[in-house]
Symmetry: C2
Subunit: 556 residues, 2 copies
């Protein structure tokens, strides 16, 4: 059903972020005004072979472009800003973001050649954006990146609040969350709350960054050799704590990995990372320093095969190799799907003689998202009339609604929606008001949306069973095979050792094609079918494998 | 260095199981007598595209076959018995195993048509196998499958003990571990201990099955709808607890999934599962039962796409679909690498309206392997002179040696070996005595060892970038293109929507090949190179993707 938002209603919807972790892109629409909140990407799951990342289908925004007033950004993580260049390529929407997010977006737009025309505005917690019928204001939250903002969209039917990603860290790095402003927002009335569901399965209150800073400093004091420290480049608060610990314990900092270098540059320029210039050294200066004076800060905490730490671990890094006495710290926890890669890197480092510190028990990492008690605190502060859990897979959204009910929001006022669903609200009522297309769009290389399910299905078959090619040149009129049939395979069996199988297959094909050509109606399609019907059962019988059989017939 | 074990030494080695979880295959050699312990498979990691499983290179056994006296089995899990048919195909070694393991091996050998010639012997804890110079005896341990045995190999230089997989469960399902026998073995002197390292990273003492049985029963009493219960089919102790809980709470049991059905049949036949016949119902009888009288026992606790639970979750199971009020219990924890699949199944079940119980906090699963305290208890009981951590990745082996040192075994007496390394021991000394080849052998379909790194590399490229084929028929003498060039792709871009790119590529190729044919020395190799050098940069420029370019040239 096409969405229909009545004149007295405010519509709330998502292009991405519901039923998934990633590509957060939310919208609030009152009459002819639409505010977009965030434009993120999602990193593909394993079954999306070769896909770089996933963005939402932006059709709904493009169809309603004349109504769109602003894209406001909660914070600078990829799952909230990574889609900006792809959206801006199609629609030049004014962007409002805090200093760090704006710096990161600027880099991105520059890379895509979109900077010249972009309309960028820096905001802070006190900014108010006024449009004809709606207005947008902000409140400071805490997360694993500085400048995290929650967003209040004021509309005639009522206020819509998007928390963005948050935890309640009362001793954070940098500014604490603005609890008093949140309380005032709650008191002045919230019609609908869109709140971060990431850690809805976690009963604990997320540990403060302060505890992590303390453990890092204690480790830095105790360790006598080099320290190699890997974390998310985007976790600028962690970088700040780590570089300060290095400064306090007299270690010089060498930075490896492009995204880590960028983060350090951005963080220092914006004042989030405050250690002085001479705290940093170049790779070639490391040799002249004693081991206990060295901190190597690098990418690769998720076991990414091309990142600095993975190359250090497998011995292919040009400048750094593990030496006895090294201590490697993983200040991170593996994203599901990366566990095996991370474990492999830990094994390699450990075999090379490094001590490896990782995991919960060492207190070297904490989540950027609040657990159940923090989600309830947000619900208590905002006390919304309606509630819509966002930023989570279904099971997290479901638990989040149970938490909402536990703090007194009626079950019928909680809405677990899917991307593309529109929730329409008056000051008193809520209804599901239709659906627009909001599917996944795959980005691969410089192609956006040109990889579909057929290509992915082919990649899956190729990856598991490989491919067998059979090529021949024929002349239909003369009923002759002019060249071939030749067989070639990739990813199926090692051809040099399988001459007999190939020969036998070629003979079978030759006879089958010759017979097919006798048919007066013989055409390319018949030869194709003949090749497949001959070769496929032969290969299955001989190998119990089901490679993709690809006939190719040339005519001469 | 080729292994050399002196006449007064006993050699200890592994064909699989060191530096990895899986394909446990250990050997103890004194003069002309070799005892093999276990013959397991390993399930492939994600990068082994399309591979079914991995077995060890058995060359060392085959080269020394005249010395091999026995294959003794610790227990019936795949990573300890899955390799038996592959080994037996090459070498008919007498097998000694407990009742359950023997039943499972018998099934396997029957499937492979190897049963007739196999020499199978059932053993129990009190069996002693006497050979000319060595003898083998056993001790009962506890694990997640009944009949788990530790193995003592008595040799003139001293006793070698292999623990097999174990935990210390003092309130297990079935028989407890034989602590007193273990104590006597320790008192009589252990030269070298090979002990299970799986949970060396876990500081806790593994929970007893009794606690899990209690939680399962409490859940069965409380739930009012159907219960769908998924666990490892091989965890017969869990199946026993679950079927008993069903019996006590008046639920009839329906079993889904082939391996689960086999386990129930084997478990009942051997007396491990004791519920009566009329406790079980067929699928078609479920309709006539009220929801609160139903237990559905099924495979799929690891999110395996073809297993019963996954098909129930995605709505493709022929007999069962989720109905409101259903409770699904995952009595398992996801193996690293399966987390995403398991989460997806949980989301689907949850969206379909089921309550899902999973994870540590619900006490519905415990590990079959002991944590650090249990590993230390084993070390204390056996008090070996030398120690060799087995059954674990490097980081687990390393922590296990640290535990050994903590209970008083000198560091220089601990050996972290790799597959193929030989440790040679006299009653007083230990030395590394060379290495034999013990690489991975891949099993894919009915091929063993015919998939190598080249095929896997091809599968990887095909899976991430796809393939572009360029075919042409030429006549070198007449310097003519007789047919083509035609371009075909799979897994690269969707061809129907990329006509322009394909046409442009074909034109480029046509001109390049025509030019190449003018070269008097033109041959197939030159045309190949011409095609690759023309098409590859063109495609990279247009798409930023790097598909495999496969030229195929026919001559006519």
């Amino acid at each position: 059903m096409k969405p229909s938002i009545k004149n007295n209603e405010v519509g709330v919807f998502a292009l991405g972020g519901l039923g998934e972790i990633g590509k957060n892109t939310y919208g609030v629409q009152f009459q002819d005004e639409i505010i977009i909140v965030d434009a993120g990407i999602k990193f593909p799951e394993d079954d999306l072979l070769g896909i770089d990342y996933v963005i939402p289908d932006y059709s709904y925004i493009l169809q309603n472009l004349n109504k769109v007033k602003a894209l406001v950004i909660t914070h600078g993580h990829e799952d909230h800003i990574g889609g900006v260049p792809y959206l801006l390529k199609q629609a030049n929407i004014p962007i409002y973001a805090g200093p760090l997010a704006l710096a990161l977006i600027t880099n991105k737009l520059d890379e895509h050649g979109l900077l010249r025309d972009a309309e960028l505005h820096e905001i802070n917690e006190d900014t108010v954006l006024k449009f004809r019928k709606t207005s947008v204001s902000f409140f400071r939250t805490t997360h694993s990146i500085p400048d995290a903002l929650g967003i209040v969209i004021k509309t005639p039917p009522g206020n819509i609040v998007c928390t963005g990603d948050f935890k309640f860290d009362f001793t954070p790095v940098g500014e604490p969350a603005n609890l008093h402003r949140m309380a005032r927002i709650g008191e002045s009335g919230v019609l609908c709350l869109l709140s971060d569901s990431t850690n809805a399965e976690i009963p604990e209150f997320t540990k403060s960054e302060m505890l992590i800073g303390d453990s890092i400093r204690r480790i830095f004091e105790k360790v006598e050799g080099r320290i190699i420290f890997a974390t998310f480049a985007s976790n600028i608060s962690r970088l700040q704590q780590t570089t300060e610990a290095a400064l306090k314990t007299g270690r010089k900092i060498a930075v490896f990995g492009r995204s880590m270098e960028n983060s350090i540059v951005n963080g220092r320029r914006l004042g989030y990372i405050t250690v002085p210039d001479d705290a940093f050294v170049d790779a070639h200066e490391l040799k002249s320093l004693p081991a206990e004076k060295i901190l190597i800060l690098c990418t690769g905490s998720q076991g990414e095969p091309m990142a600095a730490l993975s190359r250090i671990a497998n011995g292919t890094h040009r400048q750094i190799s593990i030496q006895p006495g090294d201590t490697v710290i993983f200040s991170s926890s593996p994203i599901p799907g990366n566990t095996t890669s991370v474990n492999n890197v830990i094994n390699l480092l450990s075999e090379a003689g490094a001590e490896v510190i990782h995991g919960k028990i060492n207190n070297v990492h904490t989540s950027g998202h609040g657990g159940q008690e923090e989600q309830k605190l947000m619900l208590r502060l905002m006390k919304p009339k309606f509630f819509m859990p966002v930023h989570g897979e279904f099971r997290m959204q479901k638990i989040h609604t149970q938490l909402a009910q536990a703090v007194g929001i009626p079950k019928e006022n909680c809405f677990i929606l899917e991307n593309g669903d529109v929730l329409s609200l008056t000051s008193e009522t809520a209804r599901e008001a239709g659906h627009f297309n909001a599917g996944d769009v795959y980005v691969d290389g410089n192609g956006v949306g040109d990889i579909g399910n057929i290509v992915l299905r082919d990649r899956r078959i190729l990856s598991e069973e490989g491919l067998v090619l059979a090529v021949t040149t024929v002349n239909y009129k003369r009923k002759e095979i002019l060249a071939g049939p030749d067989i070639l395979s990739r990813g199926f069996i090692y051809m040099r050792e399988s001459g007999e199988l190939i020969n036998e297959g070629q003979k079978l094909l030759f006879h089958a094609i010759r017979e097919a050509l006798q048919d007066p109606k013989c055409n390319e399609s018949l030869v194709r079918d003949t090749i497949i019907d001959t070769l496929q059962p032969f290969l299955i019988e001989k190998t119990e494998r089901h490679p993709m059989v690809l006939p190719m017939i040339l005519e001469a």
